[in-house]
């Protein structure tokens, strides 16, 4: 049951083979058993989960269940949950119980999904390894000595280790796709504006976007479908009809279901930088797409190499301002001893924030400062436009873009902890997608020399979520990489 797909769980619940309470209990017990080693959860809400499961059972009994009714899930701890600790992976919010639900949390609750608890994450979603969490690093279920990726590392590890069938995440520079790749699962970040940011604690507002983790494209489609939709409380939320992503997965049941699909391979993504084992797995996956009927064409993203410098100006600039509200005045951490007001701010923030968060606040404060704004912030915005234009140009020649999600497989815990730039480079293929606001998906396509998963990234034009999910679903229909499990979930 723990490895069942969402449609299988749906059938089991509807057929009363298992109740929602039993299903929640099954996963809660796995969390109790495995979380001490994995550290994927910051908060486990057993009581809340069982209450939600009971309500789900009532709905199922009443015949009014939806696709997610009774399905357990984990929420990244960046989403505010009413009455439940919401820490954002930080000491600053280690005592913060949110008085309201994020829009995504409300939508999933309304759909009848059962939240098991709050998944660990890099502090304020800043990190690529999940080592910056105040609540300790998350371990990769495939190898406890490796990082799971970040910043949504807890969500990805939870799904990979089957502590939850699905999980929410957020992706500002790759924080869904990169940990999905490192943990051997599927993750999708939709077009900017599809998922409401209301109640999603902001890191970099113009880049942050909620996303979905699952074992397969099909599970992601079901979760994403329940997360999207216009929200008047988010001014950047897009006012358009919601799509049934799961329905879009249906396709021709034939040997070449992707006939006619043109996949662009960016020259720059396949040049140096990628490790040999990642290259081998990615190229084999591309070949598999050809077998399924797709054609491939080389495209170019000449400015993609500028994505990391542009991102590390824009994201810190926004975060330096977004995190100003954590001042110890109204909620969150306040230093025990302080002199005057300035001292209270300085001590509370010095104690409440970790090193990576402070680094980005300082960088952001610097690039927005008088005399530097034009050279850094405005210049980065110009690069951002060029990068977005590159994608539009490339998408003239293809329907989807494919390439590696990450340059290597998951590295050893602590390996890059003292070298932030090396850490930042792990997001080299994912960051440009956020700068352009495009949808991106990562799905597992094999393993590296170290036995750790490799992900392939698919990038589409705005609102091409269905196309991404359909392609990945067809790939997964023909292969079994997505069905491989780490030992703890075998």
């Amino acid at each position: 049951m723990i490895n069942a797909s969402l449609p299988e769980l749906r059938r089991a619940l509807d057929a009363r083979q298992i109740s929602a309470v039993e299903l929640a209990g099954l996963f809660l017990d796995r969390i109790d058993a495995l979380n001490p080693a994995l550290n994927a959860f910051i908060t486990v809400d057993r009581e809340g989960a069982l209450a939600a499961a009971r309500a789900a059972d009532a709905r199922i009994a009443a015949g009014s269940a939806g696709p997610l009714t009774g399905i357990p899930l984990a929420h990244k701890d960046v989403f505010c949950t009413e009455g439940v600790l919401t820490t954002c992976g930080s000491k600053m919010l280690a005592n913060f119980v949110s008085p309201y639900d994020a829009h995504v949390v409300s939508l999933l609750e309304a759909a009848g999904a059962v939240s098991l608890g709050k998944a660990n994450m890099d502090e304020f979603a800043m990190g690529s390894s999940n080592e910056s969490s105040y609540f300790g690093a998350v371990k990769n279920p495939w190898n406890l000595g490796r990082i799971p990726g970040g910043s949504s590392g807890g969500s990805a590890a939870a799904v990979a280790a089957r502590l939850a069938p699905i999980a929410t995440g957020t992706d500002t520079g790759g924080s869904v796709r990169q940990p999905a790749a490192y943990c051997g699962i599927t993750g999708i970040k939709p077009t900017y504006g599809l998922v409401s940011r209301y109640g999603m604690i902001a890191y970099a507002s113009s880049l942050d976007q909620g996303g979905a983790f699952g074992a397969s494209a099909e599970d992601c489609a079901l979760l994403l479908g329940a997360m999207t939709g216009f929200d008047a409380r988010d001014s950047t939320s897009l006012e358009r009809p919601t799509e049934d992503y799961a329905a879009a997965l249906a396709g021709p049941a034939c040997a070449r279901p992707l006939e006619g699909l043109r996949i662009g391979l960016p020259r720059e993504f396949f040049a140096e930088g990628m490790s040999d084992d990642v290259r081998a797995a990615v190229e084999a996956a591309v070949e598999q797409y050809r077998v399924l009927g797709a054609t491939t064409v080389e495209v170019s993203l000449p400015n993609a190499k500028l994505a990391i410098p542009a991102y590390y100006v824009i994201a810190p600039a926004e975060c330096s301002s977004n995190l100003s509200r954590f001042d110890g005045v109204r909620y969150g951490h306040r230093a025990a001893d302080y002199g005057d007001l300035a001292d209270m701010y300085a001590k509370s923030r010095a104690e409440g924030f970790g090193a990576e968060v402070k680094r980005r606040i300082l960088v952001g404060t610097y690039v927005l400062s008088h005399g530097y704004y034009d050279a850094y912030y405005l210049q980065a915005q110009r690069l951002r436009r060029l990068i977005a234009q590159d994608f539009q140009a490339a998408l003239q020649h293809c329907d989807l873009i494919a390439g590696p999600t990450t340059p290597t497989t998951a590295w050893t815990l602590g390996e890059k902890a003292d070298d932030p730039v090396q850490m930042y480079l792990s997001d080299i293929y994912t960051i440009a997608v956020n700068l352009a606001g495009l949808p991106g998906l990562s799905h597992p396509v094999g393993f590296g020399a170290d036995g750790l998963p490799v992900g392939l990234q698919l990038i589409g034009d705005y609102f091409a979520e269905s196309r991404l999910l359909h392609a990945a679903h067809r790939f997964q229909h023909a292969t079994d990489w997505h069905a491989r499990r780490p030992a703890c979930a075998a």
């Binding site: 005045v329 109204r330 927005l368």
Partner: protein, 486 residues
Amino acid sequence: MSRSDWEVVIGLEVHAQLDTASKIFSGASTAFGAEPNRQASAVDIALPGVLPVLNRGAVERAIRFGLAIGAHVAEKSVFARKNYFYPDLPKGYQISQMDLPVVVGGTITIRVGEGESAYEKTVRLTRAHLEEDAGKSLHEDFHGMTGIDLNRAGTPLLEIVSEPDMRSSAEAVAYARTLHALVRWIDICDGNMQEGSFRCDANVSVRRKGATEFGTRREIKNLNSFRFLQQAIDYEVQWQIDTLEDGGRIEQATVLFDPDTGETRMMRSKEDAHDYRYFPDPDLLPLMIAPEWKARVQAEMPELPGAMKGRFMDDWGLSAYDATTLTASKEVADFYQATVSAAGAALAKPCANWVMGELAARLNKAELDVAASPVSPAQLAGLVARIADNTISNAIARKVFEALWNGEGATADEVIDKQGLRQVTDTGAIEAMIDEVLAANQKSVEEFRAGKEKAFNALVGQVMKASKGKAGPAQVNALLRKKLGA
């Protein structure tokens, strides 16, 4: 060197609180006076994860203002974050507008001084932009700690910035008064200065007459009455002149005015100025104002004071002074127009005299607003009509007005009838009174005949007195001269 060798240069920044029911970026109420923090929503207290949503009503008011002053209402304007830490600024930044404000340019015509020396002047506006207000820090009653009230946080403000076009505190006050009347006229701000709905910052500098460069300015913050505005500028100007004449230099600074001492004192120097690190707020899309929106706001715009003033002069023959006075506020203009429409356009001038004269004086004495006047426009119109048709004299009219004020009658006619105040015009009756007066005042008659014109006036007074004021002075005059054979 004297004060007259110096030229004063003043620009004003006015924060007008927009009278929307809810806040600029949240649904919380803007009503004044609630218990602390009872009108602060999740957005206002900046909980983690909350986002701003722009209030259309605030934008609409900004458009109305822009159109009223003939400014450019920007098709695209951008909200920016002004970053600084303060406990009553929950997000650690204020959402404001920087590079692209919603209103650009425009002018306001002011009338300065009174009587012969009065003059008109056009003040140019730089811009007006939308922003949110901060909360309040309460330093009293907390035993050494500071209380924070976030009810005001997120209240919509229109910051209206003038060019440095004013050359005296009188001009600055005239500008502030005109602007104050305008924002109330177009119903975007209640103008309540005690509650902080209309606050002025004055940028003041001085330079030697004939100099082309501006002097270094100091900004006087948060002046919440016209009197303080005048006092603060006058003090500041003298301080700057004294400093310069003593060989000192003016440093750019922000200063506060202390109403108790009447002095300004330094709050922070330029060196302490914040770097606010403005950048476009990524939570809000650029504000787009379509031409259709502007057109709709324009169509709903009330007649503006300038146009109304012109109409009063052209159609009703009022003087510039009268027309300016009567359009100084919407309430006075409304009262006056209602009075004329009841009395008829032919009586527009006497109506103006009564509204600006007796009524204004009486309201002033009773500390009442014109909207709360016990005498209605219709009652005043009835009174003016009876003066015009000679039913009563001006002197009697004041009695009738007083009676109406005190509720002693529903109409002027009722008061006149009840109290028997109808003017006596019957020649025979007046001649009879004259005969009595002449008989009783032989001494005055003799003096008059001896050439003392003063004695004639005394006799007129006696006749008026005998008539209990009901006789017309002109008629008495004529009949008396005839009697005396003069």
